[in-house]
């Protein structure tokens, strides 16, 4: 592992952090009006909450924003807050902290995405490998256009159709939420089953869309693996088809797929924003949606910062660890 590569990669990560924090700081300040009072007034106009809360809030935020201080000092203070992971207070759930809101939502997103990404990966890779296998191709021929269609459709639109069919027209599954409302979360079988039932439709939409992506990728790699000399050799030795498929072709074609899987898992936080909205699933994406529709400006900022940083950090770790796992990957000098 060259030192230059590691240094550059870490440098990129810090630039990502710098960019994310700066854009969060600058864009609201590009507006000529005081963003907080504007938001508060809009919010108060809808009649939610008590009037007293708003004066208190405006004071807290004016103190926090330090509008009387010079810009560079505001900027440094903002950095201080970010480094303490102090993302401010939610307007809609005052006095709830933005950080706590995010921490409550994140496990749902991680759980949903982790499971459905792995399922999509396994099913898609096996299907894709079968499609490239001689003889199988004819049997599974119809799957190719199906995979293409699935990978082209935005998964949240797929989700909308799934809700309509399986939750409303033929109501076998719940249409929204992560668990039956009012249920107390505990690690008991009925509760786990309930959570699983609620996760089935959102997961299905991610899995369906993902199968297309992984399937097409696997099929392309398998085709090129089949042209390798060791496949001809295996064939000449008279190995059984099954051995050739699993031990020679599949294993070798899997490597680029695993790289893709690692990247997909790193991007988990930004993966399901829109699916969560469609299903009212209480993860990061739904939190963002509620914050946007409620003008809950600090939650918006907090979620955006959190997502950018977690994706950036995960990709950094991946890029540093992966070359250690696979010696064939040289640090790319492109």
């Amino acid at each position: 592992m060259t030192l230059g590569y590691v240094a550059r990669r870490i440098g990129v990560f810090f630039l990502v952090v710098f960019f994310a924090v700066s854009i969060n700081f600058l864009i609201p300040r590009l507006r000529s009006t005081n963003p907080i009072e504007a938001r508060m007034n809009e919010f108060a106009a809808t009649g939610a909450g008590r009037a007293g809360d708003f004066h208190e809030l405006i004071e807290i935020y004016n103190a926090k924003f330090d509008f009387d201080k010079p810009l560079w000092q505001q900027y440094l203070n903002y950095w201080g807050d970010v480094l303490h992971f102090d993302l401010g207070t939610s307007i809609a759930f005052y006095p709830g902290k933005v950080r706590d809101e995010i921490m409550r939502a994140a496990p749902w997103t991680i759980g949903l995405l982790l499971v459905s990404t792995l399922f999509a990966f396994v099913i898609g890779s096996i299907l894709g490998a079968l499609l490239a296998w001689p003889g199988m191709g004819k049997l599974f021929g119809i799957f190719v256009p199906v995979l293409m269609t699935l990978s082209a459709i935005p998964y949240y639109l797929l989700g909308l159709l799934l809700v309509y069919v399986f939750a409303l027209v033929w109501p076998v599954l719940p249409s929204a939420g992560a668990y039956t409302s009012g249920a107390r979360l505990a690690l008991t079988w009925p509760i786990v089953g309930d959570i699983g039932r609620h996760a089935l439709l959102p997961a299905a939409s991610i899995v369906l869309a993902g199968i297309g992506f992984w399937g097409l990728g696997m099929r392309a790699t398998m085709v090129s693996v089949m042209g390798e000399d060791y496949m001809t050799m295996a064939n000449a030795k008279g190995l059984r088809d099954r051995t050739m498929f699993f031990h020679y072709a599949f294993r070798n074609a899997l490597l680029p797929q695993v790289t893709g899987l690692a990247i997909a898992l790193a991007g988990i936080m930004s993966g399901a924003i829109l699916v969560e909205i469609v299903f009212g699933y209480p993860g990061i994406g739904f939190l963002l949606y509620r914050a946007i529709s409620g003008n809950d400006y600090f939650v918006i900022q907090g979620v955006v910062l959190f997502v950018i940083l977690s994706v950036g950090l995960a990709l950094l770790i991946l890029d540093l660890v992966y070359p250690l796992l696979d010696p064939r990957i040289q640090f790319r000098k492109t």
Binding site: L15, F19, M148, A152, Y156, L157, S175, V223, S224
Partner: protein, 281 residues
């Protein structure tokens, strides 16, 4: 004639894709000239009515004609994609060619910017920007999305330029005393055109995806009909739970057709631009 048929047979994916996109465009253009604009306004009919002879696809919660909304929204959505695609790919191509041809510190810094911006989920940045604007137009949306749509084209064009730069004909041109500008415009550019075309389609698709995503979050253009806005209203007013299928199915179907068309076109162009993929058919 025979050649054409042969070509179509060899590029079935590309032809199907272009056909689908053309159908969607025609639907939007012909529809817009037939359907009166006022039908897409609030209160054009009674609210939440199923399809009838007067309103072929029924009306939404506020009495808008769903068919009119989809028909008028299709060109708007395409426009966002085209604006973002054109600006993004043009800028990306320029950055990619300069970065690849000049090399050195310029290349290193542009690569750094591309790497950093590609690490950031662009929907997140778009959310920050659009949530701070009090309303955005269709054109504005295209420009904002374009600001984060140039990195992939820049990266692919740069990689292509690196391989072309050292080829014989470029060397010959250089030895003949051709200026850098001449080499870039007459030797390099024509050879990156296929790659630029393929990445243009991909960029348009990504831009439309981003615009519909932002619209579904309630951050898209609110004053003009677009496919994303129709989907947003349908979610917002619970069209699903109330089973008003005529409201949310049409925009979803058009959007899906458009995406399949764009996907197949991009894949088809890729095969032309990158001959090594052809054996994988």
């Amino acid at each position: 004639m025979r050649d054409l048929r042969h070509w179509i047979n060899n590029n079935r994916m590309l032809v199907t894709g272009i056909t689908l996109i053309t159908l969607v465009i025609l639907f939007g253009i012909i529809g817009s000239s037939v359907v009166p604009r006022a039908r897409a306004d609030v209160g054009a009919g009674r609210p939440a009515r199923p399809p009838s002879l007067e309103f072929l696809l029924g009306t939404d919660q506020q009495g808008r004609d769903v068919l009119a909304n989809v028909v008028l929204g299709t060109p708007a959505t395409l426009k966002i994609g085209l604006i973002a695609g054109l600006i993004g790919v043009t800028f990306g191509t320029i950055v990619g060619i300069i970065s690849g041809y000049v090399g050195g510190a310029l290349d290193a810094s542009s690569r750094l910017v591309v790497d950093v911006l590609l690490t950031i989920p662009n929907l997140m940045v778009l959310v920050v920007i659009t949530s701070m604007l009090s309303g955005v137009s269709v054109e504005g949306m295209g420009v904002i999305i374009a600001a984060f749509a140039w990195m992939y084209p820049a990266r692919t064009v740069r990689a292509q330029v690196l391989t072309i730069r050292e080829r014989m004909y470029v060397q010959v041109a250089r030895l003949n005393g051709m200026s850098s500008f001449g080499i870039v415009t007459r030797e390099l550019f024509p050879n990156v055109v296929p790659i630029v075309a393929a990445s243009f389609v991909g960029t348009v698709a990504a831009a439309i995806l981003a615009s519909i995503g932002l619209s579904a979050l309630g951050l898209g253009p609110q004053n003009e009909a677009s496919l994303g806005l129709t989907i947003y209203w349908a979610i917002f007013y619970g069209a699903l739970i109330r089973q008003l299928w005529w409201w949310f199915i049409p925009p979803i179907v058009i959007t899906i057709l458009l995406f399949i068309g764009l996907f197949m076109t991009a894949a088809g162009l890729d095969r032309i631009a990158n001959p090594r993929l052809r054996t994988n058919a």
